[in-house]
Symmetry: D2
Subunit: 341 residues, 4 copies
């Protein structure tokens, strides 16, 4: 059985495992102070063209969102996010668990709109009772979004301008960042991302690592005593090398980008196959997640031969499913899929 | 330079890395539902002689303490712990971050006393204002303790009897559990631990894994929707295999116990060397952490050749330092230490 | 200058102050255990025709919502509420401060719909990833709503049936409960309210008291150690008599209902005056809050002679304003308003 | 039956009730923006000889402690307090409920020691693992303490010097502040208190009000958006006049001080009676709370005629009880007590 269920069903890129083996006996400091964490930080700063960037390693996406958001927000603030944002829906209330509200705003294909955002913030401050309300203290977007879509550089620039106008930091959830950067339809580099926000993270778990996300504060704006805040949330690893080695490897010889490009190429071929087979694309996603409308009978038949994700009911006879590619997706798998679709 | 700084300065036991490599391309479900997590759970249940045990995998010790304690406690309850307990002192307020008080009680060499505990709980319920106070809702102990010491089976049995009498669950922090079980002075098996508490965890990070702790609820008492509580705290891994493979390996062919026994043997030889060299043992620890009183001049000289941990000032001229052994401690390192001490 | 700004701009009904004076020198127990709290509880139980009701006194509305909701919810649960609900918008994140998400759903004139609610809960449990989401653990509605509107008995019955079907407690915020019960358009008694939910509160602050809300658990369902949870949130008064005496007075000789009826009669006359003067009613409210669309020039002129609340912009030339009546609204004030409108 | 059970068993000083009646029909703004709150603030600033003081009104002591402490602390900080401090023991975990640890330190008769405090803070920063620990972010003391004892001006000055040296704000819980200021043994004025800390509160509930505490930030240091933080904790009153009128009355014509002096005079006479009757004073308290050791038989007999508080067991045959005086304690009650003791 082949699988397009998600981008986290196979292990790590082999080069990562190889580096684990090679470095295993080295005596290293704990808690992220080791040489591999340092080296990975330096490589990420370079890749971001942001020498002043401060880089921290955390383990998973929900954890990273909760740690970053709660560390940046003042107690009277909440985080503005799309109603479909990962922090709004799929993190079991991890943000609220830190005492902060997710201020949900409308979206289109997973994206929020700069003009609406400005209007929302303006309305807040014009409300005579704004002191009785949760202050917008951060804006959260994901790139790519939960629907695999991408903000253009123009769109992101406008959102960031609104944020700067109101002194509200912008945070980009990059759980699948590589796929956005390598998309044929994307028009941004890692340096653009670093420049156009206050903090973002480079997702490892879903882009070839076993685990790990690299948080990047780009404006000399790391919250005070951030490591203590990380520890307080139970997010600090004793063997910090676990993530340091992985990111050091991912940012050596462009591995992170190569992995991402491969998945995008596989996704493009997947899209061709889907269209060739007359299946309906639910949403034109330019990244590694493809949302397809399948007739229910066909879906049931397919389920016996390939694993994929269920998104939601489309209508009585059809279902929206998700196919995702990853570092390990092979041409053979796509050939087989073409056969059985 | 050799290192006795801690038990987490080298990577994972080689068998673990080997299994990562062997299983890397297998397509596995996420979030801890994969075959390796299932297999590891089964092996742990067997090792605990507790078929009804429910096993969950988390990433690190502080995270595990915060998740378990906050999941078990009612909102009006706190957790009773030694003043020197890891949750009391060295977790940056991770328990309080979940809204719960650590009710600190006196200790001796890191251990709490059953009679005092009973007296403490009795006094609480006899206080006419107990409704204005934090209810004792869980008892936390560590085995081995933060000082490397061990409760005897008799001592643990008495503590657990007090807990059962007052219907207060007992939680054992086993960050270094293996070293306690393999200590020459320990008189408990893993099955004893499982029997004499309500929930405990088997530490991986400090016993040969790259990361990971296995939480074991032994009395059909897993908190409802525990996985959602784990997710809410940002503690769920997408690639659950990361920990599943590690614990599956650790509990195959007694690896966990062999690793622990090796570290204990190295610690026993270390202790001999220390005594032979006329250094003072601060505390008679039967596990892999040894606390030694060094004359400050000697300490400074030693620091150039070997890494170790600083504990606290002993007096003006002396310092208490910690030497720890691990799976990777070698006889050569000990020979070299004997030379330079 | 007269005022229709809100229902909390004058002090308490004079009978309440009189009772403060009369009972002032009596030696009473603290923390809500005094004879007046007991008597008030008994009178409320009778008024609710619910002998098993358990009654607690808190100080204000936001506090009551936060204490009740956080005491009832499990840690993995959130509270479902209208997007316009007081807990959603105007409590500065007090619910999230307790670690729980407000699960906002669509509304119409402040009311949620039973059919939508059922669909929402169904969709939650049908989502294959529901364990990664916040469980619907309580439903919150307000009666009257934030727009002064009322659920009919049929509507409330349907909502409660959905709640019971899914074992989700229903909580009614009755900050202005009296005005709903005495509305000409309302079709429910206090006994109906008590029967058709699991917990509700009878608002005092906005219905003639200086402060105070009476929480009523109607189904033998008070959360365990509720008083400790109240204390933990800083909501317990040493001189519990402060609220006991007020509610004892409000529920003697129907004062609570008389106050409410008076405000409703004044609101009905206010509505007539508004219509008579050709002003546009924004929303047909059957309770003590009236929402009116005023031409901006007229609004500015009026502001010099009468105080009222600003709700939101209607269009470029008009604003929605709120006029509220209360126990102290007099016919003279209405006569004067007719003159100047 | 007479009562010395506590200082909150009778209502408010009659002048307060009189002012409620006189001001009842005035139309006033809500949420603490009314003329009485403003006037009370001004009078308190004058009484403190601190024109820059910022004054806020809250309802009760535990609420005030939780709101002030959580508003001042950064997320990585905790509050240092005596092990016997009200926040440590008798607030049901209200501080931990805000996510912050109470860092308990030793005390003597309820007081902490400046030298120990300095040593404690020094030790924190010298610990190589201090980033894994809760930072001392505030120091909390009570004046008078929970045992009725008082810091001298010299002692308080030393504590405040330590605080300033380490940039840690000092917070004084003045739930019974008046009794400390009017004590024959006290050597501080309200202006001294204001000068020698960063924030304190003037207790109303236990000094003649029905409820209410006045928080005073004395160093231009009110936390940003404090009112929103107050609201978020459910501590904001719609009818702010409830507390404004009370403090305006208490700080008119020295009423607050007269009430306190009266209670102190009654306490002094009480002490004489106790000594005259050969009872043992447990602790030499210079304020309105007296701790007495009673033989158990005598205590049981006395309980039938007078109410008092139970503190703790002294030995098998004796109990420590608490007698408290207040604004309403009369000479007749003392005469009667002398008779029956």
């Amino acid at each position: 059985m082949i699988s397009f269920e998600s981008d986290y069903t196979t292990g790590a890129h082999p080069k990562i495992l190889q580096r684990f083996v090679e470095t295993n006996m080295e005596v290293l400091s704990g808690y992220g102070n080791d040489a591999y964490c340092q080296s990975a930080r330096e490589k990420i700063r370079n890749a971001c063209q942001c020498p002043e960037a401060e880089v921290f390693f955390l383990t998973g996406g929900t954890q990273t969102n909760a740690v970053v958001i709660s560390s940046v927000l003042q107690k009277y603030e909440g985080v503005v996010a799309a109603q479909t944002g990962h922090v709004s829906v799929h993190e079991a209330g991890a943000i609220e668990n830190t005492g902060h509200k997710v201020l949900e705003i409308p979206q289109s294909e997973g994206k929020i709109d700069a003009a609406f955002l400005e209007q929302y913030i303006e309305a807040f401050y014009q409300d005579e009772n704004y002191e009785h309300m949760v202050f917008p203290g951060m804006v959260y977007i994901s790139y790519p979004t939960e629907y695999g879509t991408l903000y253009t550089k123009t769109e992101l620039t406008k959102i960031y301008e609104v944020c700067k106008k109101y002194h509200i930091p912008l945070f980009i959830d990059g759980a699948r960042l590589g796929y956005g950067l390598m998309s044929k339809n994307g028009d941004m580099t890692l340096a653009d991302i670093a420049r156009l926000c206050d903090v973002f993270y480079i997702g490892g778990t879903k882009v070839g690592a076993l685990c790990g996300e690299a948080v990047v504060f780009t404006k000399n704006n790391t919250p005070k005593h951030f490591m203590t805040l990380v520890k307080r949330q139970g997010a600090m690893l004793a063997k910090g090398r676990l993530i340091g080695v992985q990111f050091d490897t991912l940012f050596t010889d462009n591995l992170y980008f190569d992995i991402s490009r491969h998945a995008i190429e596989m996704a493009e071929r997947l899209k061709e196959i889907i269209k060739e087979k007359g299946c309906r694309i639910y949403l034109e996603s330019p990244t590694n997640q493809q949302f397809i409308v399948l007739e229910n009978g066909k879906m049931e038949a397919l389920k016996k031969k390939v694993r994929f994700g269920f998104w939601e009911k489309f209508d009585e006879g059809h279902t929206i499913v998700r196919f995702a590619t990853s570092w390990s997706t092979s041409e053979e798998e796509l050939d087989y899929l073409r056969e059985i679709l």
